[in-house]
Each structure stands twice: as structure tokens, then as C-alpha cells.
Amino acid sequence: MTDKFISIEGIGKRYSGAGGAATTVFENLWLSMARGEFACVIGHSGCGKTTVLNILAGLDAPSEGAVIVDGQAISGTSLDRAVIFQSHALLPWRTVLGNVAYAVSSKWRSWDRAKVRAHAQEFIDLVGLTGSEHKRPSELSGGMKQRVGIARALSITPKMMLMDEPFSALDALTRGTLQDEVRRICLETGQTAFMITHDVDEAIYLADKIFLMTNGPGAVLAEVVENPLPRDRGRIDLHRHPLYYALRNHIVDFLVTRSKTFTTETPGHDPRNVPVVQIGKPGLTVAAASDEPRQTWMPGSSPGLSA
């Protein structure tokens, strides 16, 4: 847990609204992830999840604070941090192969065409799009477009993947298949992944760590929930795990009630030492954001859960 691959240190984001009044989306946000970890962020619409992801990607700069990746403060975007966009963001004038090859040739500028194509093809095969290489995005279904987005992100062999609700526009069946694929690929390649989602089950299936954010404006990171389910969990028997419902209820309770009341009911909340919730391990103290010991929230023990 001491290996902090990604460390978000006290970032804040303000927008100057009409008449000079600044709205603070969030401030003093601290968060860290270890290498190879899969983290999901859950929070209500408008709390600033996309803003955090864009800052992490380097597409947006924080108003204050810094993001440290692999021991270095980031400035701007990097090929080490691939983004899978919610709206897939494929270039419509390029084919499937062209879109992936664009990313490949951006990373390895000296490669010749044949090498770029072969490398791109490898990742198109990986996401199961063999045979559709020469189709344009307009000829693909939503799920296929999202697969191209995944292939494009993976093809540059990034150190981490940033995903902004990648599956929210898909039907349940396609979503399930793509979740399986993303999970498999991330485990195989040891990716560090940061994913925004609104789907509690998606978070439980994919994440090692779940970040819960309160409602904005002035959103805070309320809790870090550690996933008690084994790493080699399967989609089918997920709900049979003894801790599954405790975990799910905890997250849903947070979303339904505590996300609104958390800030007022927890005046002593320390954004640098966000409590780590370990479902099913009562009384354990763990250090996450800093090395100091801190309290641990248990489901049912927090005041906000009484509702």
C-alpha cells in the first residue's frame, strides 16, 4: 500500500461564473492508487468525476494542487495515460484500422506502415473486431465503436487507463461482454485503471477500490471502499459471495442518502485521510492516503446510515 503509483494531492477546480462569482466544483481532493490497481469512482451527476478524470489525463489543469504519476508531477497529456472516452470519440473519416493505427503511429513515429498496421491489427483482434477493420465508425454499432476506443487506448500500451463511463450508452448484454474483456485485459497487462461509473454492480465486478464522492458543488471524496471479493471473481457467482450484499448495500446507501448529508454530518472529515471502508473486517485501521493511522468506517456505524 505504500507504493503510490498515482497520487492526487490537494487538487481543486473552480470555474468563474457570471458576475465574477467562482463556483468550486471541489477543492482539497486527495486520492492515491497503487500500480496495477483498478479503481472506480461513484458519485451523483455533476459532482465533478469527469473533471477529476480530465485533470488526471492532463486534458484539464487543476486550479490548485498537483497530480503525481510514477513520482513525477504531470503537466499536460501523456501517451502513458490512455483515455477511453464516454462518447468513444472515434475519428469518423478513418476506418477502424485507421483509428487504431493513428494512435500507434503517434506513439511510435519511426515505425513503417506495415509495422503500424500489424500492431494495430493485433489489438483489433484482441477486442474481437477481426473482419471489421475497414469499416468506418458510422457503420459500427455502439458496442463495436466502444471496442475500437478500447483497442485504440490499449494499442499504445499505456501505464494506465482512464475511462469515463465507457459502457453507459450500451445495452446490458454488450456492457457485460465488454466489462469481461476490459477486466481480462487489465489483469493480463497489469494496467492501472481509473473508471467513472454510475453502475454499482459494474464497480463491484471490476474495482479493487471504490471511491465514493458526495454531491457537488463543493464535492468531497467521502470514503474509499475496498472490495472484499476475491480478485479472480466471476460475473456469474458474484452475488453468491457472502460479502456481496453488504458491499452493495453500503454503496447504495451512500448514493441514496449519505452523499447529500455527508458534508454536514461529518464536520471532522479530513480530506487528506479519507476513511477506508473494509466490509467484513471490523475494527481494522488502515492507512491509505497518508501513513498515519486513521479511523475506519463500518457499514451501519456511520451516522448517515441511520436513514
Binding site: 486534458l59 497529456t77 501517451l79 495515460r81 483515455v83 475519428l91 469518423p92 493513428y102 506513439k107 468506418r136
Partner: protein, 279 residues
Amino acid sequence: MTSSLRLRAGLVSIVLLAAFLGIWHLATRSTAPVTTMSPEYARLMGLTATQGKSAMPGPLDVGAKLWEHLRRPFYDNGPNDKGLGIQLAYSIARVGTGYLLAVLVAIPLGFLIGMSPLLSKALDPFIQVLKPISPLAWMPLALYTIKDSSISAIFVIFICSIWPMLLNTVFGVASVRKEWINVARTLEVGTLRRAFTVILPAAAPTILTGMRISIGIAWLVIVAAEMLVGGTGIGYFVWNEWNNLSITNVIIAILLIGIVGMLLDQILARFTRMVTFPE
């Protein structure tokens, strides 16, 4: 369904054309001699007076004359008597030169303005003032400074075709979807490569629409410009034939101006279709 619609539309077009030609023919055909006059006077007045023939040529006169022109499009009998092909070639060459120069200036400049909010704001008042000026208003200034009528005509074409292209390029470049730019940014694509691989293809349909508007305006303006500067060109031909009182030739020139304008527009329309992408 579509093909039958096209067939019916074609039929209606042909019927309309035939009706138009028929009415034209009836309205201009010769009637019996209206007055008796001395043969000397009649010879002086020509067919119009002696046989009641309308001064307006009929479709058969125009057709016959057109056939004559088409058989010898490139003859050259001195400054006031050149084949229609030569005249059209002069006009197309002037439009082509002025238009290409405008493309070379408008598209790079449009890129710069579209990519830089500062330049966009700084140049906006100039563009707003220059854009509504009739291109022919530049003519005296051009003649005075350039001192060459042919180059002045090219300059007028340049100045009239630059604005639609410039404005469309600026708009197209400035409204490239943020997410496509973000893709390029996450891939650490440099500014120049980004301009060519993301912004240009994304803005190309808008830019080509501007180019299509421009070629239309340029072709409108060249006729007027050549009437002013004289010498050669289809515009000069129209004016010269008016002075010769050859309405037949004027009508033929009008027809050809329309056809060439349509062809230019079709060429640009085809290019536009080539760069348009479905979303």
C-alpha cells in the same frame, strides 16, 4: 421509386423546355410585311421592318448561330472577333488564377484565425468591413495601382472569392469537436500534425462549402469585371456583341455562362462529397 421519380422529373423538364422554345419561337417568328415602303428604304431597315420580323432572334436563329460557333470555337480574327472558346478560356483562366490565389491565402489564414482566439478577435473588425465591399468597387484602385487590366480583373476575382472561403475555414476550424482534439492531445500529437490529421479532415466539408460559394461568386463577378476592363473574355464578348446589336450572340453567351457556371459548381460539389464523412 426514386428512379421513377427521376424519370418523371426528367420528362417534365423536357416538356417545360419544349414549351419555352415553342412560345419563344411563336413570339419572334416573322409575320407578313406590315407596310409598303420604297425598296431603298426597306433595304436600309432590314428584315425587321420589311417582314415584321421581331428584333428578338428566335430559337432557330440562336440554334443556327450556336452551331456555327461550336464548329469554330477557337478562330481568331483580331481583337474584336475571336471564337467563343477563346473568350471562355480567357474568362476561365482569370477566374482560375484569382480563385487559386484566394485559396492559397484564405485557407492557411483561416486556419491561423480559427486556431487562435486572439487573432480571431483582432482581425474580426477588418473582415467585417472588407467583406461587404462589392468586388467591382476595387476595380479603379486595382487599375490605378496595378496598371494592367487583365491582372486587375484577376485581383477582383481574388478579392471576391476570398471571403466565403476565409469565413468558412475559420468557422470549420474553430468548431472542430472538442473530443477529436482531445484524442490528438492524449496521443501527444504535435500542433502541425494535429492540424493536418484532425482539424483539416474535420473542417474539410465546411471549407469546401466555402470554396463552392466562392467559385459561384467569382464566376458571377468575372462577367461584370470583363465588361469593365474589356479586351478579352466572355464578359467583354457580351458587351461587344451588344454594341454590334447582335442579340443572337448575346443570348448564346448567356447560355454558355450558365453552363460553365454550373460545371464549376458541380466540380466543387463533387470534391465536397469526397471529403464529407458520415457520422
